[in-house]
Amino acid sequence: MAGLLSRERIVAKPGFNRWLVPPAALAIHLSIGMAYGFSVFWLPLSRAVGITQPTPCPADMGFFQTLTATTCDWKISTLGWMFTLFFVFLGSSAAVFGAWVERGGPRRAGVVAAFCWGGGFFISALGVHLHQIWLMWLGSGVIGGIGLGLGYISPVSTLIKWFPDRRGMATGMAIMGFGGGAMIGSPLADILMKHYATPTSVGVWETFVTMGAIYFVAMMLGAFGYRVPREGWRPAGWTPPAPQQAVMITAGNVHVNEATRTPQFWLLWWVLCLNVSAGIGVIGMASPMIQEVFGGRLIGLPGAALKELAESQKAQLATIGAAFAALLSVFNIAGRIVWASFSDYIGRKRTYFVFFALGTVLYGLVPFAGRIGSVVLFVTLFCVILTMYGGGFATIPAYLADMFGTKFVGAIHGRLLTAWSAAGILGPVLVNYIREFQLDRGLPPAQVYNVTMYVLASLLVVGFFCNLAVRPVAERHYMPEEPVREPALPGAAPAQASR
């Protein structure tokens, strides 16, 4: 089995079509992308005991007792900790195991990710069945979170090596899958839960088992679809750009441990962290914001504030808020492929220049759209902002490859993903803190978001200068040159056959 998974075993045979690698990467990213869609389980799980309605735990029950109690239901806030676990373990496992992924190859990483992510669903199913939330946290949160990190970085370096001419597009396709995973997983989970629901079960554990099996198979297919190119392989008709033509694309390679000692790594860490912090902040407040800023205008009652509406009208607004969030998720994944592909033409630094410069203007315009009461402008601004949030994720692997070379780009990307974990804390904390502060000062709910948008825009200004400061990595950081093996002649037996 170890040999079957090794990097040497998956060196592509002559004539291998490189367009087979992105679907393999997508199979893995579409599976792990369900992490974004886990909230679809919260409502059914919050009445797993009561079935028709939640059975609250006694008020005097301690926190740790609620984790093991089988007679009362979990709160949605308790279930929500799963997201924190996901993104903490995604970032940390990508950082810790990145070098191992580079050494062991993408197939080994993909298979381990499949066991972790699929297996995590099975452990979670047991946790739901026994009504032990700690088992869910351990299964999907910790073990599944490690699978997320491994799965996320597994195709990055491979895709960049297969598509040296279109690095951005190649990684953009895979990372688009991570954004799109919840679009498949959430409605699928909804269908499955309805199918499995009985008078004595909300159908969640059965759904977990089914989805765990589906994801395991899909990820194994993806992992076994991975191939790596031979040393020195390059696409037909493509020659690496001359150093004087592409000063921001290095011809050398920087070791992962050396990369973290360069200012470029930390500048890009902040570039990602600030772009994601601002984006996460916006995503978290998009739905409540549109409802509170426009209130009755959304349902044909201009002038009516949210608090003046009846419960049925508020429910209508909540539906519109959910529709808005859904629309944003489409723009989020579209931005991943569009911006990353675009970066192949204008360069990575210029792409982030656009993200930060245009982003600052757009974030600053959101309060204006609210003030003039233009729903169309408001929605348009958010949609463009979300494309740049997704684009930031998708373009960063190619930026790293340009700066540090392709040899350790997967491992370097893994370490950089700690910026995502940090942003996952920074963004929501910042937004919630500012919101509470504004409300405590007595501002009407419709206006509390204005300051938040300006603060998020200021994060982008800092990111703009971080990106501006990025310069090519000094040659002293490069690894010693290894002799590149020339491609074998036609008819010569390849050194390693692919499977």
């Binding site: 799109g180 919840a182 679009m183 498949i184 037909a236 808005f324 629309l327 491609p487 036609p490």
Partner: protein, 44 residues
Amino acid sequence: MTDDGSGEPKPGQWPLVIVAWILVGVPLLWGVMTTLRKAALLFK
């Protein structure tokens, strides 16, 4: 993409490429369509 350095893939692999893309593309399209249907409420 051959060892002769021409980088040309074998023509026989294109059907496999199409099948692979359909396998990942169809679920993704279904997910996007489902999401867009939900988002359409915003414009009603």
